[in-house]
Symmetry: C2
């Protein structure tokens, strides 16, 4: 548990002085104070994280984390598990939703396998971080061992390190692919929030009423069996999964350690962020919520983290699609901060 412990201990706060200087500049710009709403604080936070007011988010990367879920055996999803691996190929081939939206945002997409239930060819251009081939069905047994949970989180951290060897990362987006993964995600927020499962469980890819009722019962049963400890994120992760959720948590922690802002996608990516922030609450200061997912439990996750989403477009896709789109707004926030002239610079009269 060396890498995990070391990372958690070494995450520092963003630069508060730069943040305050950014706020000051925003107040003096030639426009009504506060008139660019929540993008002002986003810009100031990014400045604090990067340690400078003139940030250029040139290298943006979305890491889409894949894994399979034993709990699919309980019939919680509309799609068969095989779709997880098929979608990995679709990401690599550039025709998937995240491929399209990341391209639009000027971001790279990188795919990481933390636990897809298949063997990918070694030369497939993805991060090969498979901890095991899918989790166990958590209604029957622990999704993974505690050691495997640690390994999945550390694998996410390693990816940040490997990406940094290729070049700087100015903004990291997190996304997911894993048929069935809204099920462990709902379980995770249920454990952390104490809110009843039925209020947190949604339709995922679009299941009907009957399947939804079954999904709720499955989660309730799993939580009753395992009694995950909300004070111990690794206990929670190992009991309900998933492997990609561990990876997503590791990405957040690795980014925070390296002072990289992280924009997290929807329900599953935020479940990973919950795990990360339980392990290292300071990581929250590096986190940005991209959007308000249509998945009903997501709003409770964001509330738990104290994050306000940038977009609310009824997305419920995952892959990092919301994160990619929000990158454009975060990018805009940096230009707002650095490029809009002050009253003095523009020679305009301030308010009376």
């Amino acid at each position: 548990m060396n890498l995990l412990n070391k990372t958690v201990k070494n995450i520092k706060e963003p630069d508060a002085e730069v943040y305050e200087a950014a706020k000051e500049r925003l107040r003096n710009q030639a426009r009504p104070a506060g008139s660019l709403g929540i993008l002002e604080d986003v810009g100031a936070r990014i400045a604090g994280i990067h340690g400078t007011i003139d940030v250029h988010l040139e290298n943006k990367i979305v890491v889409t984390c894949a894994g399979d879920h034993g709990v699919c055996a309980e019939g919680v999803s509309l799609f068969p598990s095989e779709v997880t691996q098929q979608m990995v190929y679709n990401f690599v081939n550039g025709g998937a939703s995240i491929s399209v939206l990341a391209r639009h945002a000027g971001a790279q997409v990188r795919v990481a396998d933390f636990g897809v239930d298949c063997d990918f060819a070694a030369d497939l251009p993805i991060f090969h971080k498979k901890v095991r081939k899918g989790t166990a069905n958590f209604v029957k047994k622990r999704a993974m061992t505690r050691e495997e949970a640690v390994k999945s989180v550390e694998a996410g951290m390693e990816i940040v390190g490997e990406l940094l060897e290729e070049g700087p990362i100015h903004l990291l987006g997190t996304g997911d692919m894993g048929i069935g993964n809204t099920t462990p995600s709902a379980a995770i927020i249920a454990v952390f929030s104490g809110i009843p499962v039925k209020k947190l469980t949604g339709r995922g890819t679009g299941i009907g009423d009957e399947t939804l009722q079954n999904k709720i019962r499955v989660i309730e049963k799993g939580l009753e069996l395992h009694q995950p400890d909300p004070e111990d994120a690794l206990d929670v992760l190992s009991k309900v999964g998933g492997l990609e959720i561990g990876g997503l948590a590791g990405l957040v922690l690795g980014a925070a350690l390296n002072r990289i802002p992280v924009v997290c996608d929807g329900f599953i990516a935020t479940a990973g962020a919950l795990i990360a922030c339980q392990l290292a609450p300071v990581a929250k200061q590096y986190l940005f919520a991209s959007h308000n997912s249509a998945e009903v439990g997501h709003v409770f996750m964001l509330r738990h983290l104290g994050l306000r989403p940038l977009l609310d477009l009824e997305f419920r896709l995952g892959e990092g699609t919301g994160a990619a789109l929000a990158m454009e707004l975060i990018d805009a926030s940096t230009r707002i901060l650095a490029d809009i002239k002050t009253f003095a610079e523009a020679g305009i009269q301030d308010a009376q």
Copy 2:
């Protein structure tokens, strides 16, 4: 009234067949149906307007419409009227908020003077469409004559024509600059909706409680004096103003006539859209609401038009800043529609 009448009569509906074909393609893409939320319909609508599924919004233009307001004499704003002209120079010099956000969106900014209370040099690179130097104080008399109202709307239409002579326009954004212009905008939605003025009147650039109460009384007094006819948009426009709001209405109508989608900014630009859509209800089909302004009356305007905003970032700046930012989402919606592969194209299993 020739140009206005001709335009209103000649606006056609978007192509319903292309719209339906777009919906069909979206349903078949390799992702859960409906999972890209409201951007799906945005993309389909843009396709219907452009008459093709593979739309590339290469030429995006924001037209920022400026005018002054006699009602400023009543102390309704925090800023002096002179700021309107100062901001026009700031737009031209590229350091204003809209300059920065339009650049980010890959859009041009063009500035139009419909009634700023000054003489701009003839070689200032703006559209010189001054109808008169500011409106009259509508608490005392009609803001402008009916003829001037028509002239302001037609001037907006002319701008679309002149821009089209320069090249194609794939997406038009509307924005405003005019110290005091939240006052006539609140008056306009009050007339159209019948909702009490105090529910529709906000703090504009950031006025305090006392000034807000005064602003409400000013609008109530003006409406009582003039009794604008909600069935006659030109009556409304001529009685409360403003000249740039007429121009904004003309831009919407001119764009709709030429099958150009229009993304309108916040409170003032939407007031212009209200005038346009009362004159030609079909124009609504070319309209996209960029954002939910922090100005309290805006939500009632959007409700009146039946439009759902794309962003909700507590912007309350105008200039076209919300429109510019939303252009990036609209652009993304075109890529979603055209570029995401279908299940068949990607070789992925559809839902069970």
